[in-house]
Every structure is written in structure tokens, then in C-alpha cells.
Symmetry: C2
Subunit: 423 residues, 2 copies
């Protein structure tokens, strides 16, 4: 069986580990499904000759030593958790590809000048506790102690979930790697957009990862009986609907990707005009400047709509991340890998966040995108081609070998105008 | 203290019996708040010399016998339950006014040719179990046994709630009155609209009560990551928002009152484009024909919006009631009462449903509207003028005396082209 086929079948096997019935996928942080996915992937890592462990944040780690034990590690990875009603490739495919690359390196019999680690992060999506990238932030050493109070939909705190999973919250610091122990981080991930498909390319090279801003917008009007004539209404849900449509209409012209994924109306009775409505807003762009300027326009328009309707509006900012630019050396290594398999690489910006964003505060990061059908993700219809997966395995493997070659020959960057990359 | 002041103070006292904190009002069927409200109102009934009991559906009843015990009863009433975050007058004011009228009749010392009953229905709003008018439908003998399976938000069935409240579900039939035991039903209620205020009138005479149609509209698109470009999206929530706005824009021209009071998006994550969205739709009009024709237009427009966006749509009809026309004799009696206090009565159609709708299948019904500030109801801002309440007490009292006069003199309808009104 080809490596790519193995990868796809493993994605299928992991998809069966789900909190939802009927083939739907949901696997969130620190659940029984998380534990089962870690155990299954650990078995595959062990098959590939790796030493495996679960770190203090519940991330699954597998390690192949390099030329001698204890060398700094090049980390390949992505996440094993999912959104509700997820597809089977977002995150998971990157971990399985990394695993195949490690298996190839092992099978080649020749040692690398660094250790090679594969990591399956426990939380990237933030589905269960709202905050995202908990797994990679623990590894990057940017864990925020205020997170312990975060609660899931059933009221369980993150601290309680740690204990229930068998983890010691007080040991969270031990999940953090030291920069000197890490060579870099490479991640393969489905594109979650249609550009590679449109251009007829299997793989893409990520230039930067957009930092999203997220907020809750609360619109307040006046609850009233459904018999209330229109002139006497101050309908918060009609106002929210107008705002949601305006955001959709304005965003492309502002070079934004804006999403309203959640909405509710209060009191929420079938025969009561909504007194208030809340919706979430997620805004991304190629740069922080474009994003912030566009967001200002969207909120001003929402404000105008509210004023026209006698409604008031409140914005609660819940998340903001800066755009992360991929590291030149890691990107160059990936470019080498892509060239070998797919011709001159196409450079893309990632509107979606990734574990590489968190890892960038620990080490140099690079990312590889894999074409996905219709650009669809976070949906059961997520789909990839076996030949693209094969290309991604080849490219990531080639990138690892390229890094090994430049690392072992100590090709230092002075003549290439790049900074030293092992601090 | 004036009768009207007493009525308003009693509404304040009942408002304090609530499941919500901070002065917000919610009092739903078969709860501890329902029991407490019944006990308080029963004490006031007893003060007015009435015999009181709770019927097999949890409706509070008080009775003043007429010239001799066991005569058929004229029933005055409304409901004591509320929506969430309710005002203090919707329903409650009608019961308290009825109670004052009974007190006046008692105080006058002269017996009526029929018994006089005051009823505080336990459920009109349908807040807890979804189906409305449970109290008055039990009394009207139109209880539907399929309701026993209805569940509240905590999963308790209506049957379980009956038992927990101390009622015997199997005795529900005993709440039903026999038509020959009832003279008619009169209800005073706040207008829940702005027409009386606009016309400068304290009271209005209700011609008919619109039957609402209610449904859930489910729009299905495709869930996708928030990074998905617009061209690749099939955003169910954007489609629902466009439909909600179209319904608001089209309804007045179709002579409809349409309300979307509830909405949700699935999966409902901040970073996922909604794969589906559900909203409720409540439609009312002056006649069933206008309502049904208008609804067809609204749904066709929603269908068109969905087609443009690559979305599909499904409608689940959850409720339909026919328009109820008030009885000529009862209406004439109320008109006499209003003339005495407020000049030639203004006739109004009620877009809101009322207990009188259910009672109409048992007996002749008549309704009186009381001006409320801004037409606002189902909201803490519900407000009435003390002088209007005084006028309503006078008018309802006068209507009772008018019915007593025509009843005792046996003024039969042959010469007035009205049907005999005691079967």
C-alpha cells in the first residue's frame, strides 16, 4: 500500500473516534475521544519506531533520535481535535503525513543531525473551552493561567477537565519546550480555501497566517408581543439580520473574510419580538492593518443600522491574534520539497489560524498547504486527493532532508542574508 | 383607595412572584410561582366573598352565587402566567379587574340572575410547554391528550408537571365546563398595540381575535471554516438573515403581522460558517384568508432567496388557529359598558391570541381592550394608566349588569335577530 493510502485510511480510522453518532465527527480537548485518538496514533508512532509520550497538556508526542540521543528536535505536526460536525482531514491529515515522513526517515536507516518529533496537538480548534491553540500554546510556553477558569458547555472547568483526563494542572509548565531544544516546526495542512484547486496545484507554500479578531456583538431593542405593529417595534433580531447581511456585503470590498457563525435572540419565544440579539463576528485579512481598518467600517455600518432602527449596540472583543509570518529558512526548505514534486511553489496567505501560529513564539515555523476539494473544511464534505497526499509526504520529507543537509554542513546564513537559525 | 389603585397594586404584588431575579418576571404553568400566584389571588377572591378552588388543570376559580345556588355562571377572566421577562399586566390585569367587578357586585348586595365566576387561567402563553392556552382549553373541554408528552426545557413532561403540582392528570376532564352551565365569557386585556393610544381612547371593543400560524423554517447550506472565501460559501445564517429582513419588509404590504422571535445557527461556532439555521415565524392578519395568502408570499420569497444562495429550505408548521369572532350579544353588553364610560366604542381586531379564543368553543365570548403605553407588551415596560383601569372596571361592571338586565327580563332575541343565548 502506498504511504498516501495508509495516511488516508488512518484519517478514516480516527474519524470513527467521535462524540457524535451517525458518522458525524466531533473530538474535543480532554475527552474520552481525545484519549482514544492519542492511543491509536501513539500505536502508529511506535510502529514507526518512535518513542511516544503524552505531554503535560495532553499533546501526543513521538520522537526519533538523531545521530546521537538528546539532539534538538525538528518538530512536525498539527492537531488531532476537531470542530463539531467536522471533516476528517483538518489537522489530522498533517499529523498523519508527519508520521509517514518519520517512518520514511526511520526506514532509510541514515540518522539526521537532529531529532525528529511528530506532535498531535490536543486542542487547536478551541471547540470545548472557547480559547484556541491550547495544545500548541502549552508547548510554546505561552500558556495563560487565566485559562484554568474556562468552562465547557457542561460547566466543567479546564482545570477539572485536566484532572479528569489524568493530567496534573500544576505540571503544565513541563509541556513547554526550551527554544534551544527545538530546530523548527513544520506543518502540513489542507488549504481550507479554493486557490490551489483553481490554479491546478497540489501544494502551496504558506507565507503568513492571518491573526483573527473575534467579538460578540449585542444589539438591544425592546421585547414586545408578536401582535405589536411594526411602527411600535424595536426588533433586535431584525437589526442583527440587517447587520449580518451588511457584513457579508461589505467584507469583500474591504479585503476581509468575515464570518458570523453564531446567533441568538432573547427572550427567544416564538411569539415575542426579540428584545436583544447577539451574534459572533470573526474577521481576517492578509495583514493586521487591513483587518483592523475593515473591521472599523463593518462596526460603523452596524452602528448606523442600529441607529436607524432605534437599537443600541455593544461589542465585546473576545480574541485577537497578530499575523504570523513564516520563517524564511523553514519556508525555503519547504519550497525545495515542493519544487521536487510540484514545480515552482505557489505562495499563499492563510486566512485560517494554525498551530504554527503558537509555535512561532517558540521556534521558526513553516507551513505547507494541500489542495482540498472546493476549499471546504470544518465540514463532513472535506476531501483530498490521494495523489496530493502523496505529493505532500514527498515534499515534507524532502524539506526535512534539505534542513538536515544545510544543518549538517553548517551552511550558515551569513552569505545568504538569513539569521542563524539555531539559537 | 380606588378600585383601580387596588388592581394596580395587586398586579405589582403578583409581579414579585417570579422565577427570575432582579425584578424580572417569569411565571409559567405548574411551577412553584404558579402555585404562589394562585394562592395570593385566591385570598383576594375570598376577601371579595367568593368561594374559591383550583380546577383539575390548575386554573384558579372564584364563584359568587346568583339569585340561588347552582345557576349557570357568567365567567370573567384572563390568565396569570407570563412569558419570560414579561410585563405585569398582560393577562394579570384582566383577572384583577374581574375580581374588582365581582367585589362590586357582591358589595351592591343585589343578586344577579346568574352566578359570577372569576377565573385566572394557569397557562395562556405556552411559555413552558410550547402549546398555548392549556388552561382555557381544559376549561373549554378541548384538551388534547397528545399534550401529555410535551416536555419543558428541562425534559419534564406535562404529565409529570401535573403530578408534581399536585394535580391528577387522569382528572383533567373534570376541568371542562358544560355549555349549559355557562352564560358567557368576558375578558378585559391590555391592547398590546398602539391604536387606542393613537386615537386617544381608554377602551376598545374587540371584534375578532386573529388566529396565528406558526412554523419553524430550517435553511440548510454547508458548514465551512471561517477562512473559506465567500465564493465557496453556502452560508445558512446569511440566507436566514436575508429571509428575516424580507419578511419584515414584505409583511406590511401583505397586511400581515409577522414575527421572527427565535433563531439559531448550527454548528454555532464562532469560526465556522453556519451549515444550517432555524428561525421561528409567527403570522397574523385580520382574516384567515389574508393571513394564508400573505404567508404564501413570504415563504415563496424565502424559497427564492435560498435558491439564489444555493441553500435549501424546509418548513415545519407547528401551530394554526382560526380567527375567532366575538359574540354579538357579549359584544353588545361590553359596548353598553364602554359607552357609559368612554363614549361610542372603538372596534378593534386583536392580532394577539387570548383565552377568549379557547373559551369560544364552549360559550359566547366578548373582549374589552385597555390602552397600554406605546402598545408595548411581553416586556417589563408594559404600562397602563390608573384612570384607564378605572374605566375598564366600570365598563366590565356595566356589561355584567346589562347582561343581568337582559337575562332577568328574558329579553329574547327573536325581535333582535340574535340567536337565543342560553342553550
Amino acid at each position: 500500500m502506498s504511504n498516501a493510502r495508509t495516511v488516508l485510511e488512518r484519517c478514516d480510522e480516527l474519524a470513527a473516534i467521535s462524540a457524535l453518532p451517525d458518522g458525524l465527527i466531533e473530538r474535543t480537548y480532554l475527552t474520552v475521544e481525545h484519549k482514544a485518538a492519542n492511543e491509536l496514533a501513539a500505536a502508529w508512532m511506535a510502529q514507526a519506531g518512535m518513542v511516544t509520550w503524552q505531554d503535560a497538556a495532553g499533546n501526543l508526542c513521538g520522537r526519533l533520535e538523531g545521530g546521537h540521543p538528546g539532539l534538538p528536535a525538528l518538530i512536525l505536526g498539527s492537531h488531532l481535535d476537531t470542530v463539531p460536525q467536522a471533516g476528517r482531514y483538518d489537522g489530522i491529515l498533517g499529523v498523519m503525513i508527519a508520521l509517514e515522513v518519520a517512518a520514511r526517515v526511520r526506514a532509510s536507516g541514515s540518522a539526521l543531525p537532529f531529532a525528529l518529533e511528530v506532535v498531535g496537538f490536543g486542542d487547536e480548534e478551541g471547540t470545548r473551552f472557547g480559547a484556541t491553540l491550547l495544545g500548541s500554546r502549552a508547548m510554546a510556553g505561552t500558556w495563560d493561567p487565566t485559562w484554568w477558569q474556562l468552562a465547557d458547555g457542561d460547566g466543567a472547568s479546564l482545570r477539572e477537565a485536566f484532572t479528569a483526563f489524568g493530567l496534573d494542572p500544576d505540571a503544565i509548565g513541563s509541556a513547554a519546550r526550551r527554544p534551544q531544544d527545538v530546530v523548527g516546526y513544520l506543518e502540513a495542512h489542507i488549504e481550507q480555501g479554493p486557490i490551489l484547486e483553481e490554479r491546478g496545484r497540489a501544494l502551496g507554500l504558506v507565507s503568513s497566517i492571518a491573526g483573527a479578531r473575534r467579538m460578540l456583538v449585542t444589539i438591544t431593542g425592546r421585547a414586545a408581543h408578536a401582535a405589536t405593529p411594526y411602527a411600535a417595534r424595536r426588533d433586535a433580531l431584525a437589526g442583527a439580520s440587517e447587520a449580518i447581511l451588511a457584513i457579508e456585503a461589505l467584507a469583500p470590498g474591504l479585503e476581509l473574510i468575515a464570518t458570523v457563525g453564531r446567533v441568538s435572540a432573547m427572550p427567544g419565544a416564538v411569539n415575542v419580538v426579540a428584545g436583544s440579539a447577539v451574534f459572533s463576528l470573526d474577521v481576517r485579512a492578509a495583514s493586521d492593518e487591513v483587518r483592523d481598518a475593515g473591521l472599523e467600517t463593518l462596526l460603523a455600518e452596524t452602528e448606523r443600522i442600529c441607529a436607524c432602527r432605534g437599537l443600541s449596540m455593544r461589542v465585546e472583543h473576545t480574541h485577537a491574534a497578530e499575523t504570523v509570518h513564516c520563517d524564511p529558512l523553514m519556508t525555503e526548505a519547504l519550497a525545495h520539497g515542493i519544487v521536487a514534486d510540484d514545480g515552482q511553489p505557489l505562495s499563499l496567505f492563510s486566512p485560517a489560524g494554525h498551530d504554527a501560529m503558537a509555535m512561532a513564539s517558540l521556534t521558526r515555523v513553516g507551513m505547507l498547504f494541500i489542495r482540498c476539494a472546493g476549499g471546504v473544511s470544518h465540514n463532513p464534505e472535506e476531501s483530498v486527493l490521494e495523489e496530493d497526499v502523496a505529493a505532500a509526504i514527498d515534499a515534507l520529507h524532502a524539506a526535512v532532508l534539505h534542513l538536515a543537509a544545510t544543518y549538517s554542513t553548517d551552511a550558515r546564513p551569513a552569505d545568504r542574508k538569513m539569521p542563524a537559525w539555531i539559537m
